[in-house]
Every structure is written in C-alpha cells, then in structure tokens.
Symmetry: C2
Subunit: 113 residues, 2 copies
C-alpha cells in the first residue's frame, strides 16, 4: 500500500488524463466542468481524477458557490524531481568515475565490481 508521498505523486502523474488536467491547471485555476470539457470522459471520472491529484497534494480546491475552483500546487513536483535527480546524479557520478578509470591507465586491474 503506497501511502508515501513519492508514490502518490508518481502514480498521480502516471495517468495521461491527470497529466492533461495538471497541464491545464498550470495555466491557472479552473472549475471541474472547465477541466472536464476538453476530456473524452464523463464528469464523475474527472471528479475522481481530481481526488487523486488532491490526495497527492498536486492540487488544492476551494469553493465558490456551487463551483469548485481548483489550483495546482508545485511542491510534490519538486520533491519528485529531487528524487529523480538524486538518482541521476549518483548514476552520472558512477559513469564519470568509470570513465575516468578507463581513461586513467592501461589498467589491467579493473577490480571495480
């Protein structure tokens, strides 16, 4: 049961519809109906996608009469980017060291395993 923040963020972003919603919300706040309009799915489906995004902290929702204005939040994106870049840096660092090692000498003693 992935309750941790990164799992929530990544699985929220794993769905193309939810990414489309986020892309729209990055431009500015919108109501559920406005978000649903361009999408090929029903309103209840959109409503549940929004709940997933909300649980991941990627959106916050207000109340304006019978409308639910929704705004994007960037913090979870930052955390996810940080996780990816940490792995990328470790990986790149290792690549660099390997590269340096290969370049360093005629090395027959490649014992890096």
């Amino acid at each position: 049961m992935p309750t941790d923040q990164l799992s929530l963020t990544f699985s929220a972003l794993a769905d193309p519809t939810r990414r489309a919603i986020l892309t729209r919300l990055a431009e500015g706040e919108a109501t559920v109906g406005e978000l649903a309009a361009p999408l090929p799915i029903t309103l209840p489906a959109v409503s549940r996608h929004l709940k997933v995004l909300e649980r991941a902290g990627l959106i916050v929702r207000g109340r304006d009469a019978q409308w639910r204005p929704t705004r994007m939040q960037a913090e979870p994106l930052d955390e996810a980017v940080a996780w990816m870049q940490a792995r990328r840096r470790t990986w790149e660092g290792r690549m660099d060291r390997l590269d340096a090692h290969l370049r360093s000498k005629g090395d027959r003693d490649d014992r890096d395993r």
Copy 2:
C-alpha cells in the same frame, strides 16, 4: 492503455520497490539475485518489477552466463523531469504575473485571504 513513454516512466516509479531497485542500480550494475536480496519479496516478483523498469527504458539488461546483469538508464528520468519542470515553470510564471499584478496597484482591495 498508457503506451506513452511518460506514463511508463511515472508508473514504473510509482512503486516503492521499483524505486528501491533503481536507487540500488544508480550505484552500479547488479544481478537479479543481488537486487532481490534486500527486498522482502520473492524472486519472481523482483523479476517482474525488472520487466516493468525495462519496458519503461529505465534499465537495460545483459547476459553473463546464468546471470542477468542490469544497468540503469537515465534518459526516461530526464524526460520525466523535463515534463514536471515545464509545468512548474508555467505555474510559477503565472504566480509571478499574479504577484506583479497584486503589487502593481496600491491595492487596498487585498481580498485574497
């Protein structure tokens, strides 16, 4: 059916076990058994996680006798980071413009909050 690359990448990263595997692989290549050792799941389960990561392009796998050495690949991470940062920048840009707008006038009408 999310066949697109971003969906593959994000859903691969949505699982904590797969993230743990990637974290390990960022340090350097490893066999299936080595990857499975610290994990609380069976070898077949690890094998299928690796298949998911491979399909997402996050790992590549070789063959060394009966071992399957696995290496991480960073490209899908880059693409995912790029997607997130694009949204973040749009969002931030809009924040900035809103901020500027609010700051521009003497705005006694700070009705935000």
